[in-house]
């Protein structure tokens, strides 16, 4: 609305100014030409009067100017520039220039005045002075001004009326659309719809807008349903998982409790049989009671290992700083005390500290080091090497022995629960130790692997993420 009115105003102003300027210029030009023509006619007629110095004739000639009402004063000057005759006859001498001036016309105040030489056959006889009143021109301009003002008022009025009408059909629907958009983005309520005003282009725009809203609403609903569904599924799964976990815990508890009690009975009473009735048993009976006892003991060990394996899977890991070198030293003392296994040659390298669950990581070392001790026991000089190296943001720890090793084609079975590569009478064991190692390490975000071949010793590696600050990583030994 304001823009429309401003545009109209500027257009009107520019065209009026142009019009005025042109009129002004052309009027002055015409006035000059007219005055010059009259002056030429009068001067041609007054040659004789000047030549013969006839003042009466001169006055008569000038009196003819009555026909031109806008010429308000005139004067004839003789050859010497003195005033010779004037018009109108009653005009005082002071009203005219005292002496003649040079040829040409000038605008002075609201007048146009000028001098025209009077000559006969190139002989100068005198000068004619004319003064014209421009009142008529200014009168015309006044009328123009009033007209322009009237036109402007009319234009503004019609523009205002027109824009008021247009606003109803254009601005109102657009403003309503904008208001709807504001409400929607403010309240995030995509069920709001814009009201359609007509079937014109704006109606189409409103339709498109509403269609877009419908799509957003639909997508939102789909997204909401999806999220709800997902949340519900997560809740249901979590609940199921919690129940399963509780059941597993209860199961582990019963297994450990209820399977151990009868075993204790078997072992206990076989032991009593051996101790208290040993004298009544022959060698074969003693051998058999020994077998019973060993099997029961083995089963006890199996139960313990299985429970450890299951506990490691369920337990949350508590990350603290682990003094690895201290742990390794303790485990070595525990697994193979120097007084019991004096033959073992230990080669222990630098072992950096790491963050992790101290009990779980200790279990890893126990299992790996006791394996190394067990499988190298047949060697004359068993050698066990323990060390570490850093690589790609993790630290790799290793335990190497020069023992019986393993057949490489069974590598994939090595870390599986109950998988053994040696028979029980060769080497005792339940086949759970390395599975526990694998479980603990993968829970810590690391990996386990092994290298080895038959009778060539075995190397077991496990990697743990290196969470130490960058500067201290350089300390890590590279292999």
């Amino acid at each position: 609305m304001r823009i429309i009115l401003l545009t109209i105003g500027v257009v009107l102003l520019v065209s009026s100014i142009t019009f005025f300027a042109y009129e002004f210029y052309s009027f002055r030009k015409t006035a000059k030409e007219n005055l010059s023509t009259i002056a030429k006619i009068i001067s041609a007629n007054s040659t004789a009067a000047l030549a013969f110095d006839n003042e009466g004739d001169a006055k008569e000639i000038l009196a003819a100017l009555k026909a031109e009402p806008h010429i308000i004063a005139a004067g004839l000057y003789d050859r010497n520039g003195r005033l010779f005759a004037s018009y109108p006859s009653g005009l005082g001498l002071n009203a005219l220039p005292a002496r003649s001036g040079s040829e040409g016309y000038r605008f002075v105040d609201s007048h146009l005045e000028g001098f025209q030489p009077v000559a006969a056959e190139k002989r100068p006889l005198g000068t004619l002075y004319l003064r014209s009143d421009l009142g008529a021109m200014y009168e015309r301009f006044r009328v123009y001004g009033i007209l322009v003002a009237l036109v402007a008022i009319l234009s503004f009025l019609s523009a205002w009326l027109l824009s008021k009408f247009l606003q109803k059909s254009i601005s109102t629907p657009i403003l309503a659309l904008a208001e709807t958009a504001k409400v929607i983005s403010g309240q995030k309520d995509y069920s709001v719809r814009a009201v359609k005003a007509g079937n014109d282009e704006l109606g189409l725009l409103t339709d498109a807008f509403n269609y877009m809203l419908a799509q957003i609403q639909e997508q939102n609903r789909a997204l909401y349903n999806f999220t709800q569904d997902l949340e519900q599924r997560v809740r249901r799964r979590t609940a199921q998982w919690e129940v399963a976990n509780k059941e597993l815990e209860a199961f582990s508890y019963s297994v450990s409790h209820d399977l151990r009690a009868p075993l204790r009975g078997v072992i206990g009473f076989v032991t009593i049989l051996e101790d208290d009735y040993g004298s009544k048993l022959d060698d074969e009976a003693k051998r058999i009671t020994g077998i019973i006892k060993n099997n029961a003991l083995k089963m006890g060990q199996l139960i313990d290992d299985l429970l450890t394996f299951s506990r490691m899977g369920r337990q949350e890991i508590e990350r603290t700083n682990i003094p690895m070198a201290v742990i390794v030293d303790e485990v070595m003392q525990q697994v193979a005390p120097a007084d019991k296994d004096p033959n073992i040659r230990w080669v222990v390298d630098e072992i950096p500290d790491i963050k992790g669950d101290i009990n779980a990581v200790r279990q890893v070392w126990v299992n790996l080091i006791s394996n190394a001790v067990k499988y190298s026991a047949n060697k004359e000089t068993p050698q066990i090497e323990i060390g570490s190296f850093g690589r790609d943001g993790e630290i790799v720890f290793f335990v190497k022995d020069n023992g019986v090793g393993f057949d490489e084609k069974y590598l994939n079975k090595l870390f599986k629960v109950f998988q053994r590569l040696h028979s029980a009478d060769e080497f005792e064991g339940t086949g759970v130790g390395l599975a526990i190692v694998e479980k603990i390490v993968s829970k810590h975000g690391g990996k386990v692997w092994a290298e080895g071949s038959k009778n060539q010793g075995a190397s077991f590696y496990f990697s743990l993420p290196d969470e130490r600050p960058e500067f201290s990583k350089q300390d890590t030994l590279n292999r």
Partner: protein, 147 residues
């Protein structure tokens, strides 16, 4: 046996475990004044002189130690422990929890309730025997009673 001169109260539902325990204590002459009850209800009757023990024994003649199994029918060991430790007359009684499993989620609970010891019965008989023997020596001979 005179229930007023009981020194060890064994609360154990597994008769084999009970026999092995008693046998081991006897071997070291520690079971002369041992009384065996087979569930928690019987244990509470004995300790608080109620039921079959009403009138036959007095609270003043308390045992030196109670060996208490956890998993028992009717009233379990945890409930027995709770009753003993929440009664002013019996709070000072030493209670040793004997259980089959170290997986036991009850370990912390037992200590919170005021158990004086928590022993996992080993499957291996040699170790079981050693544990029982140590237990007997400690609570019957070494430990000084509160009264």
């Amino acid at each position: 046996m005179n229930p007023n001169s009981v020194e060890v109260l064994l609360v154990e539902d597994n008769i084999n475990d009970a026999e092995l325990t008693i046998r081991e204590l006897k071997k070291h002459n520690l079971a002369n004044n041992l009384f065996h009850v087979k569930d928690g209800e019987e244990a509470l009757d004995f300790i608080f002189c109620t039921g079959q023990f009403a009138g036959t024994r007095t609270m003043q003649n308390a045992p030196r130690v109670i060996l208490l199994d956890i998993q028992m029918p009717k009233v379990n060991g945890i409930e027995v422990l709770e009753k003993i430790k929440s009664d002013d007359r019996t709070r000072a009684l030493p209670v040793v929890i004997l259980t089959s499993s170290k997986e036991d989620p009850d370990i912390k609970k037992c200590y919170d309730l005021g158990a004086n010891s928590y022993i996992v019965k080993p499957v291996n008989f040699e170790r079981f025997a050693a544990a029982i023997q140590n237990l007997g020596y400690y609570w019957l001979l070494l430990n000084q009673r509160p009264i």
